[in-house]
Amino acid sequence: MERSRYGDLFLAESREHISAMNHLLLALEADPAAREPVEGLFRAVHTIKGMSATMGYRAVADLSHEMEELLEELRQGVRSASSEVVEALFAATDGLEVAVEHAVVGRESAHDATPLIERLRGLARPGDRDGGPGALRVEVELDAGCALPGVRAFLLLRRARELGEVADVQPAEPELQAGAFDGRFAFSLRCDRPAAELEPQLRAVGEIAALRLRAAAAVPALTVELAPSAEPAPTHPAGPGAAGRARQMRVDPARLDAMMNQAGELVILRDRLRRIVAEARSAELSEVVDQTSRLIDELQNEIMRVRLVPVAQVFDRFPRMVRDAAQSLGKQVDFEVEGSALEFDRSLLDEMSDPIVHLLRNSIDHGVEPPGERLRAGKPETATVQLVAARERSRAVIRVSDDGRGIPRERVVSRAVAQGLVSPAAAAALSDDEIYRLLLQPGFSTAEQVTDVSGRGVGLDVVATRVRSVGGTLEITSEPGRGTSFTLRLPLTLAIVQALIVGVGRERYAVPIAHVAESAEVEAAALREVGGQRVAMLREALVPVLPLGEALAAAAGPPARLVPLVVLELGEQQVALQVDALLGQQEIVVKSFDATSDTLRAFSGATILPDGRPALILDVGAVPAMLEGTLQAVRS
């Protein structure tokens, strides 16, 4: 088996199935009598089992086989989906996920599935654990790579007949010998040897992926399972089953990233070419460049569209996580998801997945009250946590909100004072927005005790940093007793952004246009100092001004009569950047770097300008801190 080639396929498909299984288990938990979740679970487990057996991942195959057994009993109605059963399946699904991830990196032995298998077996064979002498039902699944399954089945039955009396072979022997089955068959074996002794003897026949013995009485009829099913046996990833899906193909995301990068470089060259053409004044050259430009634009758009994936791909794993978190904290939570069908850039979703997990945990842990407290406050016992994806002009919006207790202002303030983040005097004058921003300071946590769910010492600052690093903003709104919401506003793609290029002294910087409200030139005399803060009067409002040259310790140009300002929109707040020159708007390809590096905190990445010179991309999210002088944005 060529693992290198199929490993990625196996991993991708298994992850999809495991994600689906979590959903189906939630549905089953909500309605234990429902049939569809059981059928779906059975199919998912069955597929994973087939794939893993093909890949030779024994641990995955064994565990999924055991899950399949239990699900088969649910299908047959022999067993009901009790909470004990559902819990065991949840645990086994988690185990399966771990086993899959370990298997593909060749560390299969790192995960011991035996306890989970034992747990499932304990459920699957009520009151009948030891087998004992008498009739046993033997269920066999042959290796997916077995070349002549009919002959292998024949060999196994022959061996069984040496050991005892064989009866009730399904499918019937002529069919088996002709190979007209999907690799699975079963028979009854009557003999007086213990099952533990029989199993290795039967397995020695070879090419057996799974073999199971159990007391015949405990087993429902197996005809349904063993009839040649319409669903093809998942033997080879590119087998006949793939024909119906031939219109889609899987692509390594790294290739898309590389294509996107190259398209980005083309965009930069295009801009350079345009400048040259403008100087060359040749109608013919200009026409060719125009056409080329259009093609490059289309190419870039196409690649961007290929990179779009449904939000559901990331959101689908959250219901399970929310359920577990709520359960472990003893809270009752209804989880609502909106906008799953929207499509966002894959790398953006990848980047935001962890921050969303963090915000959801934060909401459940800190926002949502325990049921008793909610009842006393006159609220429904069950809280609602919402996860919403939306498009807002040229931005992607992700919002996590709850109807919990809201952010406790006093506790945040006293905590911030205690931690020296703010002086008691200044604390009194803080606006709501400023107080909420305290939550985003590194290390800030109001949780009195560390819980399993959140508050492990990493706070919202991690979320804020990550959001900033992709050029997004995080907005917090909260109402005491009514709830809290965290809104992430993100660029639609991480690879290419529209930016305003500004000059400060001899340096040039790129300001992501998504945050720019307007640019303006004002009379130098219109700038004033109010309480040590430079401000400008813009449209009859006072806007704080950040002299970018000073903030970045870059050599600023000589004072001019007209001062160029770039007005940024930061949540509810506006801040004007004072620069030396406005050099125009253009698309830039973001080359990100590690934004946590201290000397570069003011920047989220770098880019190459059309003339081939590099420019740093301003981290707009860091502007408030620069304004307060708390971020010393010194370049190394």
């Binding site: 002549l148 009919g150 002959v151 060999l155 010998q177 026949v205 090419e207």
Partner: protein
């Protein structure tokens, strides 16, 4: 001492391939046969630990050769080599006394697994 093998196949290509697989795994190829008749004769002379037997060969096919060999030595260990789609013939060979089978095209690992099962 390494275990001895007699390879029976009418194609040099297949004999060479099986020979290479088994030699590399430490077996000693003591003889080869191109027909069923030769296979029976050589088995008698060499008494190898293992026989690999093609099904379709001139001058007595592999299945008849298995029957003859089993008649002389009920303990003989024969591994059938078959092409895809010959399950009926393979079953017949097993009923005649062959212990296991491998299917062409050969994968070395599968051949060695089958050999281990036959000898084990």
């Amino acid at each position: 001492m390494s275990q001895t093998v007699l390879i029976c196949d009418d194609a040099i290509f297949m004999r060479t391939m099986i020979g290479d697989i088994l030699t590399q795994a430490g077996f000693q190829i003591v003889g080869e046969a191109e027909t069923g008749l030769q296979a029976v004769q050589r088995y008698r002379e060499l008494k190898p630990d293992l026989v690999t037997m093609d099904i379709v060969m001139p001058d007595m096919g592999g299945i008849d050769a298995v029957r003859e060999i089993m008649k002389e030595d009920p303990g003989a260990k024969v591994l059938m080599c078959s092409a895809m789609g010959q399950q009926a013939l393979v079953i017949e060979a097993i009923q005649a006394g062959a212990r296991d089978f491998v299917v062409k095209p050969f994968q070395p690992s599968r051949v060695l697994e089958a050999v281990q099962r036959v000898l084990g």
